[in-house]
């Protein structure tokens, strides 16, 4: 049972000076999910995100946010969204509090209590009255999230949210994003060029390259399709012959024998090997990294 759709993108295209940058992007976000937007630098992630928040006007296609058309009902639609596009640039000569106040004045019904609430939520209440110019990058990132959450959005869009954070900061950010989706019920769209990033925090993922979405699916399913089993046994060549009778042997080298992952049949295959006197030392189901996936989908193009 799918949760209700909060953000629906249909047939989004953008042509700049005769060159088609975004070539028909469609996807939907559901309540309470973290949606990953994965692609190499220059794939069009940021351009797409800018179109989602009204900074860039699409050449064609529609963006519906909470049931409102972004183009025709801008103010109603944009009210449902909180975002950080690229770096969270704030006014450095104002304090964190004043920055939040500044943006709160642009939204109806957001008062000092809400500002305090989001400041606490991102753990910035100690330094909130200091000037932003004295903040570390991590604190700025958190202030950026605070301003995105200010208007109680249904959809949160974070462009490379872990950029420039240290490992502890990255882990913290990941936990925070999961918390927002699971506890607060937000739809979170996270873009990244880092596979591990997306793999660790997203429910679903869209893979983007050259202005197109190559695949949109749950992280698990995308991974399972490509799952493999690594066998180590002695004698190895005997094992390979026996396994080839049952399934496809994808590769056999010093790493072991690699076959597709079929959980239901694994035990039977193993029994067959054992019966034939092969000493099975190691059976390891292995999920592919998204990197493998990406190479598969783009036909050999690598990320970065």
């Amino acid at each position: 049972m799918m949760k209700p759709v909060t953000l629906a993108v249909h047939g989004l295209r953008k042509t700049i000076r005769g060159k088609e940058i975004i070539r028909g992007v469609s996807f939907a976000l559901h309540e309470g999910e973290v949606f990953g937007f994965l692609g190499p630098n220059g794939a069009g992630k940021t351009t797409t995100i800018r179109m989602l928040v009204g900074l860039i006007r699409p050449t064609s296609g529609t963006v519906m946010i909470g049931g409102y058309d972004l183009h025709r009902e801008f103010t109603e639609a944009i009210r449902q969204i909180g975002c950080i596009v690229e770096n969270p640039e704030m006014y450095p000569y104002l304090t964190g509090w004043e920055n939040l106040e500044h943006f709160a004045r642009m939204m109806p019904g957001i008062g000092a209590d809400r500002i305090m609430e989001v400041a606490k939520l991102v753990g910035l209440e100690q330094r909130i009255h200091d000037r932003v110019s004295t903040y570390s990058l991590g604190m700025r990132q958190r202030l950026g999230i605070a301003q995105a959450l200010l208007g109680k959005p249904k959809v949160l869009i974070l462009d490379e949210p872990t950029n420039g954070l240290d490992p502890a900061g990255i882990r913290e950010m990941r936990a925070f994003i999961r918390f927002l989706a699971e506890t607060e019920g937000l739809s979170v769209l996270v873009s990244s060029h880092l596979l591990s990033e997306i793999q660790l925090m997203c429910d679903r993922v869209a893979i983007m390259a050259k202005g197109r979405l190559l695949a949109v699916d749950t992280v698990e399913r995308l991974l399972n399709e490509q799952a493999r089993v690594v066998w180590k046994a002695d004698p190895l060549d005997r094992a390979q012959v026996l396994l080839a009778e049952e399934t496809e042997v994808l590769r056999a080298d010093e790493e072991g024998i690699i076959t597709p992952y079929e959980p239901a049949k694994l035990a039977a295959w193993n029994a067959k090997l054992v019966r034939a006197g092969v000493a099975v030392a190691h059976i390891e189901p292995r999920l592919p990294t998204l990197e493998d996936l990406f190479i598969e989908l783009t036909g050999g193009e690598t990320i970065e």
């Binding site: 900074l55 944009i78 690229e86 704030m90 006014y91 500044h102 004045r105």
Partner: protein, 326 residues
């Protein structure tokens, strides 16, 4: 809307723009006051201790004699009569016309500041209104709010107009207060002549009349505010068009300075009068100084400026509302 304007004013104030402007005005006024003081001292030394009253009386007698002459045109006679009244006022009210008080200083300061100095101050505020947000990236956070883009720009424009008012007020108050320390604070009722209409080589004096200095200063302030508003609007448009504040400053400065230079050399290039920068010295029309190009009048110059201002405002709003933000 008032909240948006508050935001914009907050940013201008917190960037310390208005303080910088007030400080510049204060320093310059002090500088000019001292220069003016030295000059008056020099003048007094050179002229000796001659009583200015005797001089004035001499001039009045002179004027009266010339008015006796029958072979004089009617307009000229009228003009001389007005001059006579002015001189008599000085004498009756015990005012030395060559010793300026603070209001006179203020008046000449505005006249000299209208085409370069005041526009420069306005640029300090206007140049980075939009371009700084674009180059710092804060424009992205500003435009993803439930506020239409034209409203965002309008709030910036209103903040600019408020700043122009602040600049005019600061200039007026500081030039009066600081120069008054040296020259005294009196002189608001000094009669001044206005209404000259330059016609070719001649000066048409048909409409010349006397007005008290305070009225004259108010008129000048009004004209200066008009010029500053137009220059501010032009700067705002450039600020929308360019991401770099330096580029905005550069283009605007080049235009203003070229205006000052062109004014001295375009008397035979007729169509140059449609350039906004040769039309900035509006206060010259009050004084009756010859315009840079024949046929230019106060009305003409104000129309040219207004058209430039309105067009750049339109460009600024259209571009700002439609542009893709990267």
């Amino acid at each position: 809307m008032s909240k948006l304007v508050y935001n914009e004013m907050l940013k201008i104030v917190r960037k310390k723009r208005l303080w910088v402007i007030a400080a510049i005005v204060a320093v310059l006024v002090a500088l000019f006051t001292y220069a003016q003081y030295r000059e008056t001292e020099e003048l007094r030394k050179r002229l000796g201790t001659t009583d200015w009253r005797t001089q004035l009386q001499q001039q009045i007698v002179d004027l009266q004699n010339r008015l006796q002459s029958p072979s004089m045109s009617e307009e000229w006679r009228k003009y001389l009569q007005i001059r006579l009244k002015q001189q008599q006022y000085y004498l009756e009210h015990n005012v030395n016309p060559s010793a300026p008080g603070a209001p006179t200083f203020m008046r000449t300061f505005i006249e000299n500041a209208i085409d370069l100095f005041l526009p420069l101050l306005v640029m300090v505020v206007a140049a980075d209104l939009v371009s700084s947000e674009a180059s710092a990236g804060t424009i992205k956070l500003l435009l993803v709010r439930p506020v239409k883009r034209w409203k965002v720009l309008l709030s910036k424009y209103i903040a600019l107009l408020l700043s122009v008012s602040f600049i005019m007020l600061t200039t007026a108050v500081l030039s009066y207060a600081i120069s008054g320390l040296v020259f005294g604070y009196g002189g608001f009722h000094l009669p001044l002549l206005t209404g000259f209409v330059p016609q070719g080589e001649d000066l048409n004096t048909d409409n010349v009349h006397m007005i008290p200095q305070w009225k004259y200063i108010l008129m000048e302030l009004g004209l200066a505010a008009f010029v500053s508003t137009v220059v501010g609007t032009l700067t705002l448009m450039l600020s929308v068009l360019f991401r770099s504040t330096a580029a905005v400053m550069g283009v605007m400065l080049a235009a203003l300075i070229s205006g000052a230079i062109l004014s001295n050399m375009v008397s035979s290039w007729q169509s140059a009068k449609y350039l906004f920068m040769v039309n900035l010295r509006l206060t010259d029309y009050l004084k009756g100084a010859a315009p840079p190009i024949e046929g230019m009048t106060l009305g003409f110059s104000m129309t040219v400026l207004a058209v430039w201002g309105l067009m750049s405002l339109a460009v600024a709003f259209v571009v700002f509302a439609r542009r893709d933000v990267y």
